[in-house]
């Protein structure tokens, strides 16, 4: 077994220089994030923050990730490695772009921009930004349709050079912008990604000037060893054990011939935690499905990594980079929903499967590490896309929103209401900005009473949000897991309330919708999202009556639920 001693880097570099250069690398990644957010055009980037920024070594291993989305922890290095594999060489001024989930990407809307970094004439690493574009083509505005092949999901770009030695390759740009809706807005996003990478390029060049190439390269490697070392030590602190967890996903958004409804499928996980390693095996998981609920392996791994880091490093002492995961093993059979092969469609799975396996790992470890896990959170990114023509301007629009559910209950405290959890950390879109930009009126946006799973510690509440469609009909797509499989509780805690999505048409007809797939919402109709609350922790009977009274006073729970779930009788 590996015995974690001091990383070797400290035999070659003094601790002060190491700390200083390491912090500079992470600052550079953080600066990329700011440039992107402040200059991007689409709400999903500028206000929701659906992107990640990283600095990579010449092999494509991630040296530093900004304080960005956990979902990209495991898959970003593949985005850079794909570029390295596709091209023999790079010259200063090259910029590459790609989005193929089966070659380093995650799902087609996530567009990677990769910039090789040179110090004088030597390649020293790469900057990469993965950003979610609100549209990448396909038949559905927002590219969130339920189709059965990746070819229907939008434009698929292998690693291509958008700039060669500083010169723009207009042909590539033309191909991209003739395949997406609102190309003008996409260009603003692409420019922002390029500008953010440029920031990393100048920062790394400054570091190379100041510390010399050799020392900088040494420290870039050392930072990953350092994270590995810390991760091993943190894992040693967690209890050893073995656990199995099974969970059911609602479906893939496709009602196949002969089916009455969207059919659920199963994910099975077997975890072994021993010493400073952790291994997860997905044997027994269902084969890949026709609809876009198939995850490339890197997407699955990211979900696992997120849960591990949350358990092992709650105080954020371990800098996130490729070194963290050397001690984590994730195994899954080809052709399953957690290790999809081309040409399976993938767009929903990117977040929904990643959320799922993250929550499941807490479940699988809850018996032997009860103090280090949390009950299931919202378990979905709860996405609504709308597309059509704005009656006010006559211009086409695409809107993309993610709505938040609850954050799971912990072994010693309640969960948190409507807070991003697990692999996601995107923000909501302000109602006023949304209504000024798109032809909808939000009728309410509020906490969903009784949605938090009851328990000694209650799960966080989910949100309820309703949109009135104004002017013209809109082409809507939804993607929301945990309708028939609500977020589970742990150690006697009850599950949170599951997803429901419904539409009320102007004629007064009301219907519940499948929580994945597309539909047309006529002008005047109201779309209603009820996003899951999180699971509770511990038996509800053990809840402090003061906390029940306070929940009642604030309307987090109803009197009816207090009586039913807690046996409350006052």
């Amino acid at each position: 077994m590996f015995s974690p001693t001091r990383p070797q880097i400290f035999e070659k570099v003094d601790p002060a220089t190491f700390e200083v250069v390491k912090n500079s690398l992470y600052s550079a990644a953080e600066e990329m994030r700011i440039v992107l957010a402040k200059t991007a055009y689409s709400p999903i980037l500028k206000v929701a923050g659906d992107y990640s920024c990283g600095i990579f070594d010449i092999h494509g291993d991630m040296v530093a990730q900004g304080p960005d989305l956990p979902i990209h922890l495991g898959s970003m290095p593949l985005a850079v490695k794909a570029v390295i594999n596709a091209w023999d060489s790079f010259i200063p001024g090259d910029i590459l772009v790609h989005n193929d989930p089966y070659n380093g990407g995650s799902h087609l809307p996530d567009v990677n921009v990769v910039t090789p970094i040179f110090a004088k004439d030597t390649l020293i690493g790469f900057a990469c930004i993965r950003a979610h574009w609100p549209d990448i083509g396909s038949a559905t505005p927002g590219s969130y349709g339920a189709v059965t092949e990746i070819f229907g999901e939008g434009l698929r770009l292998p690693p291509v050079k958008l700039y060669v030695g500083g010169e723009k390759n207009r042909s590539v740009e033309d191909i991209i912008f003739s395949n997406v809706r609102t190309p003008h807005e996409r260009k603003g996003d692409l420019d922002a990604q390029i500008a953010a990478n440029n920031r990393a390029v100048s920062r790394l060049q400054e570091l190379a000037d100041k510390y010399g190439l050799d020392l900088l390269t040494l420290i870039m490697q050392g930072v990953m060893d350092y994270s590995e070392n810390l991760m091993r030590k943190a894992l040693l602190e967690l209890p050893d054990g073995e656990g199995i967890f099974e969970d059911v996903c609602d479906g893939d958004g496709i009602i196949s011939p002969g089916e009455e409804k969207d059919e659920p499928f199963k994910i099975r996980m077997h975890v072994i935690k021993k010493g400073d390693t952790l291994a997860v095996d997905f044997a027994g998981t269902d084969k890949q499905v026709p609809g876009p609920m198939n995850a490339p392996m890197a997407v699955t791994a990211s979900g696992i990594y997120t849960a591990v880091k949350t358990m092992a490093d709650p105080n954020a002492l371990i800098p996130p980079n490729s070194g963290c995961w050397r001690t984590i093993i994730v195994k899954a059979e080809h052709g399953t929903v957690v290790h999809a092969v081309s040409p399976s469609p993938v767009v929903y799975a990117n977040h929904e499967i990643s959320h799922r396996v993250c929550d499941m790992l807490f479940g699988a470890m809850s018996e032997f590490a009860p103090d280090n896990v949390m009950a299931c959170s919202q378990g979905t990114s709860a996405i609504l896309t709308l597309g059509g023509v704005d009656y006010r301007s006559g211009e086409p629009y695409v809107s993309y929103e993610t709505i938040k559910g609850g954050f799971g209950a912990r072994p010693n405290k309640d969960g948190i209401n409507t807070l991003s959890a697990g692999i996601s950390n995107t923000m909501n879109t302000p109602v006023e900005i949304l209504e000024m930009t798109f032809p909808v009126r939000v009728e309410h946006y509020e906490l969903r009473t009784d949605s938090g799973g009851a328990g000694k510690y209650r799960g966080g509440l989910g949100a309820s949000r309703a949109w009135r469609v104004l002017g013209n009909a809109t082409h809507a797509a939804v993607c929301c897991e945990r309708a028939i499989s609500p977020p589970f509780g742990l150690h006697g805690g009850l599950p949170g309330a599951g997803t429901t999505i419904s539409i009320e048409e102007p004629a007064g007809t009301y219907k519940e919708l499948n929580t994945k797939g597309t539909f047309i919402a006529p002008s005047g109709s109201k779309i209603l999202f009820e996003v899951p609350g999180a699971g509770g922790y511990g038996p509800p009977t053990e809840r402090d009556p003061e906390l029940i009274r306070s929940d009642l006073k604030n309307g987090y729970i109803s009197l009816e639920a207090a009586k039913r779930d807690y046996g409350f009788d006052e």
């Binding site: 002060a16 949350t310 358990m311 209401n417 000024m436």
Partner: protein, 697 residues
Amino acid sequence: MNWRIGVDIGGTFTDVAVVNTSDNQINIVKTPTTPDDFSKCVVTAIETTLEKQCIDAKKVELFSHATTVVTNALLEENGASTALIATRGFRDLLELRRSARSHLYDLFQEPPAILIPRHRRFEINERISAEGTIVKPMSEEELGGIIKTIKDSGVESIAVCLLFSFINDKHEKKIGQILRSEFPLMPIFLSSEILPEVREFERTSTTAVCAYVGPILRSYLRRLEEEINKLGLPELHIMGSSGGVVDTSECLKMPAIAVESGPAAGVVAASYFGNLIDYPNLITFDMGGTTAKASLVKQGKFEITSEYEVGVTGNVNRWLHGTGHPIRVPVIDLTEVSAGGGSIAWIDPAGALKVGPKSSGAKPGPACYGKGGKEPTVTDCDLVLGYLNPNHLLGGELDIDIEAARNAIEEYLAYPLNQSIEEAAASVIAVVDHNMAEALRIVSVERGHDPRDFNLIAFGGAGPVHAASLATALNIPRVIIPPIPGGFSALGLVTTDLKRDYVRTFFNSLNDADPGEISQVFTEMENLGREMLKKAEIKQNQWEFRRSADLRYNRQAYELNIPVGESFMSKEDVGDLIQRFHEQHHNTYGHANIPEPVQIVNLRLSAIGRLGKIDVKPLNSSTQHARVAKCEKRTVWFDYSGKVDCNIFARSNFTQNLSIDGPAIIEATDTTVVVPPEWKIKVDPRGFLVMEVLGNV
């Protein structure tokens, strides 16, 4: 003989700055801070000052104060019992927030504090559209019900924030009118009065913060006013977050502007004295016991941001953390880092050296204070390296135990790192200096300013110790140490102007905008400013109005603030503004998108009443040579040169035009100035120390 007095409350000491406006004599009086009731130490400090300096209260022309009441109420969560009235369906905005978490992997994170609990958040039927039309009229009947509930509930203040009230404030106004007649004594805050600006959560949060701290601030200011009236002092003024004072009635209209009151005073002082001694481009560096703060002054003007969260605890504030409460009022653009003299150095499990964010605070303080601190701090390392006096600090008031510092460094750092005590101490200083340099980088490089065009002005008790090292790291050519750096922030309170900021959302394409309409909005804000200045009895020739616009490319979400000239009437003015936006965008982010239409989001106006200049009394001139001022020698460790036998000087002996080559240490009662070997320092006629790299002079 007239006087100006400013009182600044710090963690350990309350500083009073006194200026005699006839002979420009400046003094700082320090008294201990009383954390249980701040008004007590303010009054004691003033009484002590009036007595010590033999000042007739009747002769004081300006009395201003930097308060920590607002920031503390939010950090300690002991604000007023507040109610919120919101549009039906939206009472939870304050709790839904923006839904991102600040700690990505913290299993045990706490939810952000909720200033107004759900049972005191009320909803009312009404709705205004994105175009400002009334979709659903406001229900006065429902309001009656809400008022009834509030009446018996012990509520101390009310915040009202309705959707789109920044475009159409009719409903909010009506509610305000009814509430104010029903509750004549209760502070009522309307979002359309506080912050008529788009984004409902941020507007609600700003309004809620005002309502939450309003009653506490009011009772504090009333208590203080009563006391200072008794002393016969003039009307109380409060330093606002954007770097100007307002009187108490303006402050109570908008309590959120009293955040960062003290740090703002420091930046005001820096910009004021920078202009006075002809160094108008400054990066300010204020290092105290637990934090270091940086900001930027360009051509004598400090930078302002309206993206600010109060009540945040974190390391470097590069990005909004999401743990605090956003307030969208103009705040001096400060970056704060948890690095101060009391920051504790430690080794993480993988063997890397860390400094902070934990601090030994005022109690027990660094190991060398001998008050029970066991872990090594930055001050202990400064001491061991010879930067600080090995026997006593604060002009002899604080005895120093250097052995305690050496022991702490040896046990916690040198032994595990297998280094000598001095090597370990030097490592700590390298790391903490880097952390602080990050803060300086954020306000300069990351905002598109080249540090080589700026001078570093260092203050706070520990600032001058570390300044030269930071300047070296950022290639800043010159360091300025003001007289009395330990109480420098208080000087901002006596060198300030009266200032109040106004904002109006004006959502429009700049390319198509009617310049007349824009001018109209500015004029409306200017009229409010004129009223305020008239009421404050500022002479009209001392009025100034600064106009600016928050601009962005059509589809961006973040704006850049660009100044607008006083006459803004023609299409050329519009074209010029667009051009300056492109330039600023390029400087800040590295690219501009010239063909893209530019959007106006907000128009802003600052109304300023000038309070008259003051100077600093010059030092005595003398032909005395540097050697005469020297008092002793000791061994000091420097980064590149290692161990050096170094001259020690007493600042009190300094005279005009004195010049000293490094290495040297200059000791004063409130701080120590470190002059590294490759630097030289000279004394300017007003007693400012100007330090430059040798060969640059």
